[in-house]
């Protein structure tokens, strides 16, 4: 694990690093390695990093309510493996996140459980992600919302420049979309598709023998033979973390990127290993690279919805409602799982199948923004998160 290491100087320019967008046709000028950083007035010392966990993270598997008597029965298959790290008397952490335990013990890591956006019932990834990123109480799934809540936040930060807000990759565009200028960086990582996408491709190719025959090997070749991937030795998420840490040490105050691969319909135990590993590595890298700035940092990892309480027939779980979020950083009052536990008996569930949300996930984001950036309650409730209900939200900042 790389910790307390100085940011390395990078002597080369990645080609994808050149293809910065959000600033029209100006790739070279916008490249952080070729442009002298303007030391514009920046809005304070606080840093917010939002990691969007795309695909619907199974909060029940990641932060396991082992103290709930109903839990073992609904998750018998998924619990048949290494047991998690005890967090308190009720919850245990998924073993693939055990790297994060030092943060938990030093009070830099917390979770909120049984949270969700206001999205209900249709359980579509895209609509759910739109809700999460737009920060709105509803979306219609057809028209794209005009702005994301992180962008609206930027408009409220005095002295914000295009470098104050930073996103990585195409996926983060909605949450930072809007009038306030910001910067997007496209890392030159090897491309791959998630396990879920591979399964969907199998479905799509099932009646075309040619494509079916060629696709198996194509997926294997995709990463191995990617000519655009520079530095194939360093995994993409580590480079994203390193790069963002460099930005956060300079002018950037709010940053966002995604980790995908959470849509664990099949063989969840194996499917979650990669995304959980990436999440843990990313957080530990950020902590290591940020040094003392970590003390002023809050990392929020949020997903579009949780997953069904009961395992499905393919050793996985299906789209659900309530789930968990992760908070990390020196500014977090950690070592706690926040929220009110709704219970897992069938009568306690949402629609008799999902974990019942007991707090709006946006409430935790709002609490963070209010305390970190001095955003007023009325702005939080009207401009940032319309329709916000703070019931059930517990203060989590140190």
């Amino acid at each position: 694990m790389v910790m307390n290491k100085q940011p390395k100087t990078r002597s080369h320019i990645s080609r994808r690093g050149l293809l910065t967008s959000g600033l029209a046709g100006c790739c070279l000028a916008a490249n952080p390695w070729t442009t002298p950083i303007t030391m514009a007035a920046t809005p304070g010392d606080r840093r917010l990093v939002v990691i969007v966990l795309r695909g619907g993270m199974d909060g029940l598997d990641v932060v396991r309510p082992v103290g709930d008597p109903a839990f073992a029965a609904v998750r018998a298959g998924l619990l048949d493996g290494p047991s998690g790290e005890p967090l308190d008397n009720f919850f245990a952490l998924h073993p693939a996140l055990s790297k994060l335990m030092p943060l938990w013990r030093q009070g830099d890591l917390a979770f909120a459980h049984a949270v969700s956006t206001p999205y209900r019932d249709k359980r579509s990834h895209f609509e759910g992600q739109d809700m999460l990123e737009a920060g709105l109480p509803q979306v219609d799934g057809i028209t794209k919302p005009d702005s994301g809540w992180m962008n609206r936040l930027l408009t409220m930060l005095p002295g914000a420049t295009a470098r104050t807000g930073f996103s990585v990759g195409r996926e983060g565009t909605l949450i930072l979309k809007g009038d306030a200028p910001h910067t997007t960086w496209y890392p030159s990582t090897a491309l791959s598709v998630s396990g879920q996408a591979e399964a969907l491709f199998e479905l799509v190719y099932q009646e075309d023998p040619l494509f079916q025959a060629m696709s198996k090997q194509a997926f294997q070749l995709m990463e191995a033979t990617d000519p655009d991937a520079l530095e194939p030795g360093t995994p993409g998420h580590i480079r994203v973390a390193d790069y963002l840490a460099e930005q956060l040490l300079q002018d950037t105050r709010v940053a966002t990127f995604s980790i995908t691969g959470w849509d664990s319909h099949r063989r969840q135990a194996a499917a979650l290993r990669r995304p959980l590993g990436e999440l843990a590595d990313t957080i530990m890298h950020l902590q290591g690279r940020l040094g003392s700035v970590w003390d002023n940092t809050v990392v929020l990892a949020m997903t579009e919805f949780g997953r069904s309480v009961r395992e499905n027939g393919t050793s996985g779980t299906d789209h659900g409602t309530g789930g968990a979020m992760l908070m990390a950083g020196g500014a977090v009052k950690g070592g706690r799982v926040y929220g009110r536990w709704p219970g897992l008996d069938e009568a306690d569930l949402y629609a008799r199948r999902d974990l019942m949300p007991t707090a709006d996930v946006r409430g935790y984001a709002a609490l963070g923004l209010g305390a970190m950036f001095g955003i007023s309650q009325s702005d939080l409730e009207s401009r940032l998160f319309p329709g916000l209900d703070m019931a059930g939200t517990q203060p989590f900042l140190a």
């Binding site: 910065t20 046709g25 795309r54 491309l191 998630s194 799509v204 099932q206 060629m214 655009d228 995908t260």
Partner: protein, 463 residues
């Protein structure tokens, strides 16, 4: 009986569906569009060969001048040539950009698909300092203006275009008994162009011609060459004297044999073997690797009835029921896949063109190089027989991986709005988006992967 289907017209015979363009309404509408003024060629221009004629002449002249000069003169001449070559490389990329932009902006893209078909039928690779990057210029001058006229006009324009003459070595072919041969001694006939015109461009390898015909035709062509201004010219001094007989046609053996060449090409254009060969090739390219025999004979008959009126031959194809079979039998070539993707994602054509001019290196990395890895290095088909036709030739693990990578990457195009997967599916496939595919697209966990599923589906990969 199967008949005309607007979405198939756009997908099978055009450059794909686009949210900006309606599907063609009928066969007549498609042919009307094809015959209408080619406005997009003016909007996204490709420089003619004449635009570098004077410079080519001057460079050659200077080469001759410095041959006896000092080293400094030679170095300067070399630098000028290098600069010219660099400019030409940039021109080549911007011409590629214009080629794509036209097809992206096209109402139905039938014109573009025909241009690519014929440019592939009369395949060339630009060669040498002056013509290396002029393959798209060739297509624009020799092919695109002649799509809906007679095949004879197209044949003359393509077979005698400077890029073709250079590619198939006609520029170095001289009659063994010509005045030039007598003076220089060591040069002679090169059969390459004559053979490929008969074997590839007209009669076909099954056609009824012999080695004697090839030889006689090469002699007939022997005066045809390229002048210092990169123009096709007939050089009396290089022509084989006397009369030639090819496939029953006897040349006049008078001065000005160029007319004989043109007349012989006209005869080839209406030869039954030519009609059979090309009718089948068109059907294979547009409809199926194994086309219905009746489709081919219907087109062949129309060819003979109309003396190779191409618009009529297309009409015969488009009015044939098997052309509208619901089964998508062909795989899109990389150029077709790339253009139909840009259309489906609603990428503005003008941006593609501007990009190729203003940021050629990135343009090449984002389009040219991926297409090469998909198996189609644009303007470089590898030989006079052009690109392969079969689905298996285009879809291998490597090329499929590249198609997938490209679809994921292209969504990062600067200033491209995030595509809405369901909208892409509807825009790109319309009625072809069946429920299983919709289910898969809805099931993806990111929009990028959902769009990739839509665009990598057999329904979008095939046509």
């Amino acid at each position: 009986m199967t008949q005309f289907a607007p979405h198939l017209a756009a997908i099978r015979f055009g450059t794909g569906r686009s949210p900006k363009a309606d599907d063609p309404a009928s066969v007549n509408a498609m042919l009307r569009t094809l015959r209408s003024t080619d406005k997009l060629a003016a909007t996204f221009p490709i420089d003619p060969l004449s635009s570098i004629a004077e410079e080519a002449r001057a460079i050659r002249q200077r080469d001759r001048d410095v041959a006896q000069g000092n080293d400094a003169d030679k170095a300067e001449a070399k630098a000028a040539k290098d600069a010219f070559f660099d400019r030409e490389r940039a021109n080549g990329l911007s011409h590629f950009g214009a080629t794509l932009a036209r097809a992206v902006a096209a109402p139905d893209g039938f014109r573009d698909r025909l241009t690519w078909f014929w440019a592939d039928h009369f395949a060339v690779e630009g060669r040498g300092l002056f013509l290396r990057y002029r393959t798209d210029t060739y297509a624009d001058e020799a092919i695109r203006p002649h799509l809906a006229g007679s095949f004879a006009e197209l044949l003359r324009a393509a077979a005698l275009h400077p890029v073709m003459l250079q590619f198939l070595d006609q520029t170095s072919s001289i009659g063994p008994n010509s005045r030039t041969a007598k003076r220089q001694g060591d040069r002679g006939l090169n059969e390459n162009l004559a053979r490929e015109i008969l074997e590839l461009h007209t009669l076909g390898v099954q056609g009824g011609y012999t080695q004697t015909d090839v030889r006689q035709f090469a002699e007939l062509l022997s005066g045809v060459g390229l002048n210092g201004r990169l123009e096709t010219q007939y050089f009396e001094a290089r022509a084989e004297p006397g009369s030639e007989t090819v496939l029953g046609f006897t040349s006049s053996a008078k001065e000005g044999q160029f007319e004989d060449v043109a007349e012989f090409l006209d005869r080839l254009a209406v030869h039954p073997d030519t009609a059979r060969h090309i009718a089948k090739k068109l059907a294979i390219h547009f409809v199926s690797d194994t086309p219905d025999p009746d489709l081919v004979t219907t087109m062949e008959r129309r060819w003979l009835e109309t003396d190779g009126d191409l618009a009529e031959v297309y009409r015969a194809m488009l009015e044939h029921p098997t052309s509208w079979s619901a089964e998508l039998q062909k795989v899109k070539r990389p150029i077709e896949f790339v253009v139909s993707t840009l259309r489906a994602l609603d990428v503005p054509a003008a941006r593609v063109a501007r990009w190729s001019e203003e940021r050629p290196v990135q343009f090449n990395r984002w389009i040219g190089q991926p297409m090469q890895r998909m198996g189609q290095r644009w303007t470089r088909p590898g030989g006079p027989d052009g690109w392969p036709e079969t689905a298996e030739a285009w879809i291998t693990p490597n090329t499929l991986a590249e198609r997938l990578r490209w679809v994921l990457r292209i969504q990062d195009l600067p200033r491209l709005e995030v595509a809405e997967p369901r909208a892409v599916l509807d825009a790109a496939l319309g009625p072809l988006a069946h429920s299983r595919l919709r289910l898969a697209v809805d099931g993806a966990e990111t929009r990028e992967e959902a769009v990739a599923l839509a665009l990598l589906s057999p329904e979008f990969q095939r046509r």
